[in-house]
Amino acid sequence: MSENSETRNSSKDKRADRDVLAELIKRAGRREEPPREAYERVFAVAEEALARKREQRRARGRRLSLALAAGVVAVVVAGALWQTVYMQDPGDLRIDRVAGIAEWRAGTESEWETLRAGTDRLPPVGELRTGSGSGLSVRLAEDISLRLSADTRVAIRPEAEVVLDGGKVYIDAGLNPRTGVRLVTEAGTATDIGTQFEVRYVDGDYRLRVREGRVNLATPEDTLSSVAGEQLQIDQSGAVARSRVASDDPEWAWAEELAPVPDFDGRRLSELLAWIERETGREVIYEEPMLELKAEQTILRGTVRNLTPLQTLDILLVTTDLRYEFADDGKILIYAKRRT
């Protein structure tokens, strides 16, 4: 074929190709524009979120300046000066996440105060409550995670005792066995050993679900024990019913959404995956054995906050050569980025 023919064919091909693209776009039609009122409404909320974010960053900067000037505060520098650590009572209650409306008061004689963004510490004893559609995640002493669902009220007592007045709470007492949390209700007191469990107490009906470990429940009539995968219900008449609840049941989703996210910057991917297993109740498996080693060797970069465990996994995993998907049985399958 002559050069001129090749050039003509090439130009013809280009025009044809352009015609095809034009036809595709034309036939797909105009993209829908959202209504103006939706735009304005969402923009207002986003603008407010941005203002809060900027204020948090300024406040962090001010605290750091004060700390350096005073010279009496221990500052931990983690590569990018992410956090400032104050010398404080290790028994303080730490606020991990607030979703919606959450309030605190020192005692029944005090006024309720709304927990605002940026509040990260409270005294170790007091009362907490959440509003409708809200949630709260706090850290008790010894790293015990206490999460409150909507319309829930608790009192925090010394030595890791929590009194549930009404609503639903989730407790993750961590990986190591300990003498643990005492969760007190009028129906009974649950004591855990190295456990994840949930208690719902509403209008005299009591429900305990154990995700991991074992919980002993002392009622006025009896002492009951419940193990991982078990649900135990006690109605107002005192009748006890047991049933099963899987560790990855969607019923646990509300607690996952309030999970405090550790700082994984500079930590191994395998640590992130272990945390994911713990928070989602789903086992992590690998397409090939080598990938488990790769997870052990891969160091993560980046810090995320206020995301759910799977959102965190999405954001941080994209910085690596690994990806994930859900297997048919709900397990999390890790595979290499380029799959054929």
Binding site: A16, D17, R18, D19, V20, L21, A22, E23, L24, I25, K26, R27, A28, G29, R30, R31, E32, E33, P34, P35, A38, Y39, R41, V42, F43, V45, A46, E47, A49, L50, K53, R54, R57, P250, A253, W254, E257, R301, G302, T303, V304, R305, N306, L307, T308, L310, Q311, D314, I315, V318, T319
Partner: protein, 206 residues
């Protein structure tokens, strides 16, 4: 191994540093696209789409200082939106529209093979419009700034290059160049998604 950093990293930093104009511009660009992204996956539910996109913006803003520029900022927002959709649907025992299947190679290839077949009126069917049309629109949405707009103005609204240039307050040559780049970008993006650029011909174009 050196890692390239996306230009959007500076955009994110500027926004956090107080640049309201840049934030407004980003919102203008991202909101309609994320709205469409969410709405098609929520069975056309406008209120739910607004809720999801609002949550997406709040989460993205809260984590904006962790954005490291490994991917485009819109891609990063989309990932957050996708996860927010999953959580939203799960919390309400709701099924997410399985639109994402179209982004796998095999089903899309099957659709295009059907389109390339002898049935001349297939492009006019509702199935073609709803399935491939959405894929095309999603590809247009995913393109960089102004690319999607100029393609729509040119091929849907029928604007001339001069009219497009006037809308963007640029010269005609610049508009032509932008249109060329937009077509190339669209072709590459769709081709990548389909794993083949040879099957793009609708039956009515020969």
């Amino acid at each position: 191994m050196a890692q390239t950093t996306h230009i959007d990293l500076q955009t994110a930093r500027n926004i956090l540093a107080g640049d309201d104009a840049t934030f407004r511009e980003l919102f203008d660009r991202f909101f309609p696209r994320l709205y469409r992204f969410a709405k098609v996956r929520l069975d056309g539910d406008h209120d739910a789409a607004c809720d999801v996109v609002q949550q997406t913006f709040c989460k993205a803003i809260d984590n904006l200082d962790s954005y490291r520029g490994e991917a485009a900022l819109y891609t990063w927002f989309c990932q957050i939106c996708r996860n927010t959709l999953i959580d939203y649907c799960r919390a309400r025992n709701r099924r997410m529209q399985q639109f994402v299947l179209l982004e796998d190679n095999e089903p899309v290839r099957a659709i295009l093979e059907t389109l390339a077949g002898p049935a001349v009126d297939q492009p006019e069917t509702q199935t073609w419009r709803s399935d491939v049309g959405r894929l095309v629109q999603a590809t247009v949405d995913a393109l960089p700034t102004h690319y999607g707009d100029v393609l729509e103005w040119k091929y849907v609204d029928g604007l001339t290059v001069k009219e497009i240039a006037s809308r963007l307050s640029i010269g005609t040559k610049a508009a032509e160049s932008l249109l060329t780049r937009a077509r190339a970008g669209f072709r590459d993006a769709l081709g990548e998604m389909l794993d083949s650029t040879d099957d793009l011909t609708p039956p009515s174009v020969t």
